[in-house]
Symmetry: C2
Subunit: 506 residues, 2 copies
């Protein structure tokens, strides 16, 4: 038997880590889409055990030694060096945290989701508060264990930075603040100007839309842009998400409104964007450290790109028109592209982030970014979150929810203990705009292609520039290499100003 090389040993051990991640993802997906309600208690035990075993696999000396043996052999810039970088990140983080905490967090997440779903359906924040309190406590403990790993050259990192770093490696709150300040400074006057302009007619996209027909529309759109249902599926969920159990098993979820076509369709296109990324990850690197998506910001760039730049384009609506006519013969205006297009770009402060327009969306994110930092800086207590939420929405968006289910309980993230995730939505939008502009520079105008049922050209470009890299490149270099410039707000702001000018004339 030939002697195993260092990368063979690393790959064998990492395969086990990845299999446990896949099991965790299936357990989560099942809990959110299939599991009977009484199953929650047993499920949190299972989640805890799998998390403990994954932790044990990550902190094993055998894995540590195989990573370091690879490090000794790796030439700078090589695939092996990228494998070492990606593996070390996970291993070092795991070794900083006790197994007991990893297990407790998994169990608390599972319980947290059950409590959140119950609390949201009964509009009762108090029913969620104890589970949320536990999650905040555990995540704080985890952040305390991890914060020392962050480089301190640009000032002392905070606990919030430690959480942010989990979703967007290298991101720091202090660097995101000016970005969000720019977005607020530029977008708030745009929103105010729109408020003075005559309203857009949204009736073409309103009416009664049968959910089964909406599902067919969503499947048509997702299949059309290139999602492979042979390696994926679509299910209803309380809060839409996408999970990539493997590149060959990617699961989208959605929800819908009977009286508005947009939440269902754009929710599906958003998750389809995530799903295309997962299906495009390098199959040959599956079950290796560099085989996974590089960051959530990059993930969100793919979802936002397909949702907004593609999904809200005239080209796509011309392509969709025959299907819309066939599925919704009673709502003919939905298929009238000229009438419908403006309604796709309505700007109006609203309550629900995932249904927000492209402009106000970032104010939703900014509010969460502010609130999460205050929570982990001990400036806001868990019990004060509903009031603090409403205050921020009042000041930043000028709207307040009557119902806590449309306020602080609207998002699933905190129920999973995912604090520090939200900023990646705006990072993703910036990256999406920059990538789309770069794609049009390379490929020429894309809308005509969409109208002609050609999504493969854009998808091929994204596969080549983004998907196939997995984690071989970090997010920053990836964007810079793909677009020619570092990540910035210019492309997004130019887009949004252009849309508002065209739709509202302001």
């Amino acid at each position: 038997m030939p002697r195993l090389t260092a990368i063979d040993r690393l790959t064998a051990l990492w395969g086990e880590v990845q299999d446990l991640t896949a099991a965790e993802q299936l357990l989560d997906w099942d809990q959110e889409t299939q599991m009977p309600p009484a199953g929650h208690g047993a499920r949190s035990d299972v989640a805890s055990t799998i998390a403990g075993l994954k932790h044990r696999a990550l902190v094993s000396d055998a894995l540590h030694d195989s990573v370091e043996a690879c490090a000794d052999e790796a030439e700078e810039g090589s695939v092996l060096a990228a494998q070492v970088r990606a593996a070390r990140r996970e291993v070092v983080r795991a070794r900083a945290v006790p197994e007991e905490l990893a297990r407790s967090l998994a169990a608390a997440r599972s319980r947290g989701f059950a409590a959140w779903r119950q609390a949201r359906s009964s509009s009762d924040f108090a029913a969620f508060a104890p589970a949320l309190e536990e999650l905040v406590t555990l995540r704080r403990r985890q952040a305390e264990a991890l914060v020392g790993l962050l480089p301190a050259e640009d000032g002392a990192p905070t606990l919030y930075d430690a959480m942010l770093d989990e979703f967007e490696p290298g991101a720091r709150a202090a660097e995101l603040e000016p970005l969000f300040a720019t977005l607020r400074a530029e977008l708030t006057p745009l929103v105010a100007a729109v408020a003075e302009a005559p309203p857009v007619d949204e009736s073409p996209l309103r009416g009664h839309f049968d959910p089964a027909a909406q599902r067919r529309l969503g499947l048509h759109a997702a299949t059309g842009v290139g999602f492979e249902f042979d390696a994926g599926r679509l299910d209803p969920a309380a809060h839409p998400f996408c999970v990539g159990i493997a590149p060959s098993d990617v699961r989208l979820t959605w929800r819908w409104q009977d009286d508005d076509l947009r939440p269902g369709l754009f929710g599906i296109l958003h998750e389809t964007g995530h799903g295309l990324y997962e299906q495009g990850l390098p199959a040959e690197l599956y079950r290796t450290p560099a085989g996974a998506a590089v960051s959530l910001g990059i993930h969100e760039s793919q979802s936002r790109l397909w949702e907004n730049h593609v999904g809200r384009s005239r080209g796509v609506w011309r392509w969709l028109a025959p299907t819309l006519r066939a599925l919704f013969p009673d709502a003919p205006a939905a298929a009238d592209v000229d009438r419908a297009w403006a309604a796709l770009h309505v700007v109006r402060p609203s309550l629900i982030r995932v249904e927000a327009d492209e402009v106000t969306y970032h104010l939703h994110v900014a509010a969460r970014f502010e609130l999460e930092r205050a929570l982990f800086a001990n400036e806001v207590a868990v019990g004060e979150l509903p009031g603090a939420w409403d205050d921020l929405y009042r000041s930043m968006l000028g709207v307040v929810a009557d119902d806590v289910a449309d306020g602080v309980l609207q998002d699933v993230h905190w129920s999973h203990g995912m604090f520090g995730y939200f900023p990646t939505y705006s990072l993703g939008s910036l990256a999406a705009a920059q990538l789309y502009a770069a794609a049009e520079r390379d490929l020429g105008p894309l809308e005509e292609r969409f109208e002609a049922d050609d999504f493969a050209t854009l998808l091929g470009w994204l596969r080549e520039r983004v998907h196939r890299h997995g984690s071989l490149l970090d997010a920053g270099p990836l964007i810079e290499q793909a677009t020619g410039t570092p990540l910035g707000a210019e492309a997004l702001l130019a887009d949004l100003r252009g849309l508002v000018a065209e739709v509202y004339g302001v």
Copy 2:
């Protein structure tokens, strides 16, 4: 912190084993009901890793030592003694098998299922043969490792006995042979006599039955008899099964025929019987060794009891009649109990085991019992199975499948490497008949109760006599305690003779 007792330590370690079993069950359920087709490759890796970790947990010295510490403390007949017995069985079996084999078997099972589904849908045994060959080889290796654990006082146990023992602890082929000989000797003349009698009119249960309405009927029946959908669900599958991920999370599956009401409804009632057992397992023993079902024979006793003794009774059909009328207004005869009842007890040799009548059913099982023994005695090769299958069906049932999908490829079991499982179906039928007779002795006639929507009385009796014991009693003593006599064929044969006499007058 108080010192942990031996049972505390055992329970903590067993909890992890049980959580891994739950994860395995979810992976299997998902693979058979939800997973997109391209996911099979990645899934077999995950199954292998989870099986390996479960094996490692089972063979750990910590678990072994905690079991033996409990053994030192356990008084004969105590719950602790039952925990030791149940734990030792699993631990000793796991320690006899290398981890590599446990992993290979799990991966081969996952691949085997994918190959079987593909082969069955294209009626191509050759497409399944390599995966089956691998499963036979691995199961043979496993049996070779396990056979030495079986007591040898009643003659040298065979490899087949080692597999049988996994599903029905203590069962031996040499003891089952006379039982199957009795069933064949008694039932074959009954089948022959029926063949001479005028046929029964089956038209009341034939026609066109909308699958959505069939599903509603099945849900109504399952809910009516006491299955809790708050702690369970029902999904379509290529081959119906039930999986108890936890007593609070029990999943039924089904399939149906558009032109016959029976396969769907009785399939659901069969799986519901399994599900009622799983939901009735002692919640306080969940995640302990004695918390699980005791044997597959006992499991099948519950499925066969609810399918046949309850489901095919006049009382249930009177209870179902209004629902049948509402769901199938175009098939009024289905709700005509007097006309439909005989069609529920048609005896006719047929091709598909799960749709077979109560009499010929055991000939289907006997054929598999004979074939499996021949396979593991090297008297039949994998490639010869289709021919051997047809020969046995011809000689025992007088029918031969035109299509291999209705022949040797009809059952899912071998694709999971489950050789030695089939005999438990007949054992279960014997136990079901004996339990039902005992219940009527204790409770009086049950049919009137069913008609009056009272299933709780029978279910309560089964909960008390069977379900709540988990594995605290072995299968033999359990049946003897519940019914007053050891397991035998008399009750079943008396039932079947009575039914044939009433329906066919022979």
